[in-house]
């Protein structure tokens, strides 16, 4: 199962500069664990105390995971995951 994960500039030190990497997992937790295997250290930048870090937003097919189950949000083959730092609008 391949899911494309788009990595923000600030976390590309963990992916050798790659803008997007493939990972697998049936939930976001499993996906992040799989990312950590190939890109050690990245999990700690996304998760803190068992939850997504405050200034990290993760989207599955453009929908914010915090509204679709958070770390337990489910994934299927072909989904796209986007990781972005939280920024201001207005």
């Amino acid at each position: 199962m391949a899911i494309e994960v788009r990595i923000p500039t600030i976390l590309r030190t963990y992916t050798d500069g790659a803008k997007a990497v493939d990972a697998s997992g049936e939930t976001l937790t499993a996906l992040i664990d799989d990312l950590e295997v190939n890109h050690p250290g990245i999990k700690g930048r996304l998760i803190e105390n068992g939850d997504l870090r405050r200034f990290v937003n993760v989207y599955i097919n453009d929908e914010d995971v915090r509204f679709i189950g958070g770390l337990e949000a489910t994934l299927t083959d072909g989904d796209q995951v986007v990781v972005l730092p939280a920024v201001a609008g207005g």
Binding site: P8, T9, I10, R45, R53, R54, F55, V56, N57, Y59, D62, E63, D64, R66, F67, I68, V82, L84, P85, A86, V87, A88, G89, G90
Partner: protein, 321 residues
């Protein structure tokens, strides 16, 4: 009512306009799914921000923090600054806006026309940087009044007492409200109103997804979530990139004749997603979405000309919402 004593008195009370061609309409099973545009471009300076700007100023006057001769300071990507500058001119305040340098030239010209002084903040980091710079400037000028739209309850209150009730009065069958997520004021205020008045209305956020430059923070701890934001007041949140925003804003003009700003395209994209979901579920839906402003201020971005690919390329690195 169509007669007002002054421009400031005419803020709000905007029309709600149906989209007969873009709405899925009546379905074979008899259910209907309709889209409705809340035309916030009809406000005095042409954007939804007239509502919170005026409300924040009136609140600050009422509690004594804003007095004759005061200087207002505000971090803004444009519209809030323009609204504040208009009100400040009529009320006799000086105003200084901190604005990211990667915003459209029209927004700068409008700000200057209404008398605002502009401090530019670096493009990298987008509005986060404008907020950071404004807080720094506020520290250097303790006598200036920063209304701070990201944390000022009067911002949300303008929508709780204005936008929300207007929507329910015009569309008692409303099922969804879709708006842009920037300061979060529109969504927080309208949601608070509906959570009380009609709790089954779904509140949907559309968040603009910019080019990489805007997310180029030095570290994740520089991230920013507006103090006003309360996630429990939102039911779904979508990230919409420039391609979908441009595509939808052009469809809105092509099919319904409405000339809107680029961020409205992002909101419409999320609204159409909700419409498709309702059709699939066999449910009737009346989906109201916000037209934040008209397209005039964004003509120079190139979003309205050439192919969608070209427009997407031109918007890369710009704060288009």
């Amino acid at each position: 009512m169509t007669r007002y004593d002054s421009l400031l008195a005419s803020v709000g009370g905007t029309p709600l306009i149906g989209l007969p061609r873009m709405s899925p309409g009546v379905q074979p099973d008899g259910t209907h799914v309709r889209l409705w545009a809340k035309m916030e471009d009809r406000n005095p300076t042409g954007s939804i921000k007239d509502r919170p700007a005026l409300r924040m100023i009136e609140q600050a006057e009422a509690d004594g923090t804003l007095r004759p001769g005061c200087t207002i300071l505000e971090p803004t990507s444009g519209n809030t600054g323009i609204s504040l500058a208009m009100a400040a001119k009529l009320k006799g305040y000086r105003i200084v806006c901190v604005m990211p340098e990667n915003t459209s030239e029209e927004r700068r010209q409008l700000l200057r026309m209404w008398g605002a002084e502009i401090i530019s903040s670096p493009a990298a980091g987008g509005s986060n940087e404008a907020v950071r710079v404004a807080k720094q400037v506020a520290g250097e000028h303790p006598d200036w009044v920063m209304l701070y739209q990201y944390g000022n309850e009067a911002n949300a209150l303008a929508h709780e007492e204005g936008t929300g009730p207007e929507l329910l009065a015009d569309l008692p069958t409303i099922t969804h409200f879709v708006a842009g997520l920037g300061t979060t004021g529109t969504l927080m205020g309208v949601s608070r109103f509906f959570r009380g008045a009609k709790p089954d209305v779904r509140i949907v956020a559309a968040e603009p997804r910019y080019g990489e430059l805007v997310y180029g923070l030095r570290n994740l701890d520089e991230g920013f979530v507006p103090e006003l934001y309360d996630a429990s007041l939102i039911d779904s949140r979508f990230s919409v990139g420039p391609r979908d925003a441009v595509r939808r804003v052009r469809e809105l003009l092509e099919l319904e004749g409405i000339f809107a700003g680029i961020s409205t395209g992002a909101i419409l994209h999320a609204a159409l997603g909700q419409a498709a979901k309702a059709v699939k579920a066999g449910e009737s839906a009346d989906i109201a979405f916000v037209v934040c402003d008209g397209g005039w201020k964004y003509l120079s971005t190139g979003a309205y000309e050439g192919t969608v690919d070209e427009a997407e390329d031109r918007l890369d690195g710009q704060l288009w919402a």
